[in-house]
């Protein structure tokens, strides 16, 4: 089964995402900021990355940029978790190489529907 890296500094969001995806049978890795995510992505093979945008140390945009520079993650789908109040973040994320986004708030069903579409 595909493995997904969930990156969020908020433990509740991370747990919700991880729980939802695990229930659906995905392998879920977690990281609480960009730096940690890069380390995880380098040590394991990940099929999809789901990242929050606002995070300490290394934010989501910087993470996307960093991942796209790694040969392994050149084409890997990376989804950002954005909010309606920050539409400019979508453009910034896209410019950095994000595949797409998921707008918060979302419920587990929406999350799964999106992930399943991307992973096929």
């Amino acid at each position: 089964m595909a493995s997904i890296l969930a990156v969020d500094d908020s433990a509740s969001m991370r747990q919700m995402v991880a729980f939802t995806l695990k229930r659906a049978g995905y392998d879920v890795l977690e990281a609480q900021d960009g730096q940690e995510a890069v380390a995880v992505a380098k040590s394991k093979t990940v099929n999809l990355i789901l990242t929050d945008v606002n995070m300490p140390k290394m934010d989501g945009i910087a993470l996307i940029r960093a991942l796209r520079e790694l040969p392994t993650y050149k084409f890997t789908p990376i989804l950002m978790l954005t909010t309606e109040s920050a539409p400019e973040k979508k453009q910034e994320g896209k410019a950095a190489g994000a595949t797409g986004w998921l707008v918060k708030p979302f419920n587990p069903e929406q999350l799964l529907a999106t992930i399943q579409k991307v992973l096929g």
Partner: protein
């Protein structure tokens, strides 16, 4: 698959409350250094996370409240709005309000709605009164409602999709979009390979293909565009409606049919439905959660738990080792048995330490509230003060921590109210305008020391002395050292109406502070230098459950003297004993005279015949006074577990509790200040300062 996300609410509350603490402390920093963008970012991030989480977990009231805060903070971090003290003050109030809302949600109690509404209105007003650029468009941009086609519903769409060369590099696979379209209806695809270069020039990372698609479905344009939303800027996309067949009557033109599959970006209805759905579930579940939240809990770092598990592991090994010896024990195994028992002792001690450590919290738990307190109070008092905190990682038992909070608040309030001078006075005295208040914690021996110091005016010795005489605490001709005079502020009845102000005058005097600290088995002392400031030093036991004790024998009984109270122990030198008027025995200890008391007399015990020759004197200190306690023998020092006498028996003056010794006997633990009180009653002993002068004359 229905997924219940309410289980993550507790975590959400915990992290949000932490986030609020972060916001609060950062806002306080912002006050000092408005230019620090990283600080504003931190605050923004916390607000943003709380907003995102509250929306996800279905707390609409929190979402809308944080939303306005987030807008303000966003403008501040973008430099579009100035960080002004009133704005910071309002945000701080908003943080308090949010905290209140969250706690109310957590235990299902009523939210202070008028306050919420008031603050919300204030935040809105501030936001709309955009100071610099004209107010940016309001952030909640709801996606536009899908337009109804004027010509009625098309029966489908002809789509030309021409990805840019680099589209694949954003991880977007055209197949994903086709799959999504297939979910909406019947899709026919035709590949356009005209852009495909010769094999030698082909870069496999580029997308050279384009597609002509025909989708037969009654979806509207918006839904089709949503499928391509992620690649809007990475492709050429044209949509032409297919209008051949008339729209069947069964499909109402105005209503938007819901497709079988939800598009990736939520539509307005989906969002609204999502927002409403969890809300309906809220009431029933909050109650459940409140029941769980009631039990007092403690957060323990994984390291401590690991240490505990490790120790238990070793204990199991030791047990196995001893268990093997039991089967067919031979005298030759005696050494092994001894080793095993030694190991058991070590394991037990380690286990005890590990378990005790679980109850320990860093001092930051008590210190964290002070930046805010100092900020608010100094504004209220029109004073300037900087708070520095050190040693906040020093650990202390949770129970002690909870009880030391109020005395510390009292001391910090006093420091600002009475200690730190108004800015003008400070400048006149050649001091920096802002006063310094320092909170410092460190371990010393088996105790924790907490210092509260400031560089204010210092205690006014003459005034205190005067007041002490007025209150009848000392006689007019008493000869007191400066520190003895300073000590008067801890006397009951010293705090009087003329020192009561709005800040400190809450009916609690320093005597209550001292009593609270004494109840915790601690001490408080003050040192002060006029014009330079005052330092209060609190000494507390690390835990209330275990005590480092000195075992002493009196007759047949064993008593325990808390090690922290003992200043020294010595063999009694009979010529140093003095009995003066009032029959108070005194002992000349170097240049000083200290009152002495025989435990056997005090507790009416039979004692060794040769007492005065062979006896030992344990000099204890409490309440700033010394007392010599005569005992028959010093037995040893050990940690004892304190068992309360009051729970099952009753309170006895001079005894703070009991413990069970290794041989199974019960020993009483002496309460030093109670003992002093008892000694006073017993011998008519009065406080040393007033006695000091005549004694020295007699000697």
């Amino acid at each position: 698959m229905a997924i219940d996300i309410t289980q993550f609410r507790q975590v959400f509350f915990e992290e949000s409350l932490e986030g609020l603490d972060t916001m609060e402390s950062s806002l306080l920093h912002l006050d000092e250094d408005a230019s620090d963008s990283e600080v504003i970012n931190t605050i923004f991030r916390a607000a943003h996370s709380i907003k995102g989480g509250s929306a996800t977990f279905g707390f609409q009231e929190l979402t809308s409240f944080t939303h306005v805060m987030e807008n303000l903070l966003d403008e501040m971090r973008a430099g579009r709005r100035q960080v002004t003290p009133p704005a910071v003050a309002l945000l701080l109030q908003a943080v308090d309000c949010l905290r209140g809302m969250m706690l109310a949600l957590q235990d299902n109690s009523a939210v202070d709605q008028p306050r919420v509404d008031d603050l919300y209105a204030q935040l809105e007003a501030l936001w709309h009164a955009a100071p610099d650029e004209s107010a940016p468009a309001p952030a909640p941009t709801v996606p536009e409602a899908p337009e109804a086609s004027p010509q009625g519903h098309p029966r489908g769409w002809h789509i030309t999709f021409q990805p840019h060369l680099a589209m694949l590099r954003s991880g977007n696979d055209p197949v994903r979009m086709f799959r999504e379209l297939t979910d909406m209806g019947t899709l026919t695809t035709r590949v356009d390979m005209r852009q495909l270069p010769p094999l030698t020039e082909l870069d496999p990372e580029n997308c050279y293909l384009a597609w002509e698609l025909t989708l037969e479905s009654v979806v509207d344009e918006r839904q089709v565009r949503d499928v391509f939303a992620w690649v809007e800027d990475e492709c050429g996309l044209t949509l032409t409606p297919l209008h051949a067949a008339p729209v069947p009557d069964t499909v109402p033109v105005t209503a938007t049919p819901t497709p079988a599959a939800t598009p990736p970006a939520p539509t307005a209805q989906a969002e609204a439905a999502q927002a409403a759905a969890p809300e309906r579930r809220v009431n029933g579940e909050r109650r459940q959660q409140a029941a769980g939240a009631d039990t007092s809990s403690i957060r323990v770092s994984i390291d401590k738990i690991d240490a505990l598990i490790n120790t238990v592991g070793e204990l199991v090994i030791t047990q196995a080792m001893l268990g093997q010896l039991r089967d067919g024990f031979d005298v030759r195994d005696l050494d092994k048995l001894r080793d095993g028992l030694d190991q058991l002792e070590r394991n037990t001690r380690e286990l005890q330490e590990s378990v005790m450590r679980i109850r320990m919290l860093p001092m930051s738990f008590a210190f964290n509230r002070f930046p805010r307190l100092v900020h608010d109070l100094s504004q209220q008092l029109g004073k300037k003060a900087q708070l520095t905190i050190s040693g906040e990682q020093t650990e202390l038992d949770k129970t002690v921590m909870e009880k030391i909070g109020d005395p510390l608040v009292h001391l910090v309030r006093n420091a600002l109210d009475h200690g730190i001078e108004p800015p003008a006075v400070r400048l006149a005295a050649n001091k920096p305008e802002a006063g310094q208040i320092h909170l410092h914690a460190y371990h010393q021996g088996g105790a924790i020391v907490i210092e509260v110091s400031e560089d204010g005016a210092g205690l006014h010795t003459a005034k205190i002395r005067q007041k002490g005489i007025e209150r009848g605490l000392i006689s007019a001709d008493a000869e007191l050292t400066e520190s003895e005079i300073h000590d008067l502020i801890f006397q009951a009845g010293f705090s009087t109406a003329d020192v009561i102000s709005e800040i400190s005058g809450r009916g609690v005097g320093m005597d209550v502070v001292r009593r609270n600290i004494k109840d915790l088995g601690g001490t408080i002392e003050v040192t002060s230098s006029q014009g330079h400031g005052t330092t209060f030093t609190i000494r507390l036991p690390l835990t209330l459950a275990i005590l480092e004790g000195q075992l002493v024998r009196v007759g047949q009984d064993t008593y325990i003297v808390p090690l922290v109270s003992i200043s020294e122990s010595l063999q009694i030198d009979p010529p140093a004993m003095h009995v003066v008027a009032g029959q108070t025995p005194l002992y000349k200890l170097r240049e000083d005279y200290i009152p002495i008391v025989r435990l056997c007399d005090l507790f009416h015990l039979p004692h060794d015949a040769a007492t005065s020759v062979d006896s030992l004197l344990v000099v204890v200190e409490g309440d700033g006074h010394k007392l010599g306690v005569v005992v028959d023998e010093l037995l040893g020092q050990q940690q004892v577990v304190i068992k309360s006498l009051e729970t099952n028996f009753k309170r006895i003056e001079g005894v703070s509790g009991a413990t069970i010794l290794g041989d199974g006997t019960v020993a009483l633990i002496l309460d030093i200040s109670g003992l002093m009180h008892l000694a006073q009653q017993h011998t008519g002993l009065v406080r040393r300062p007033r006695r000091l002068a005549p004694v020295q004359q007699a000697a």
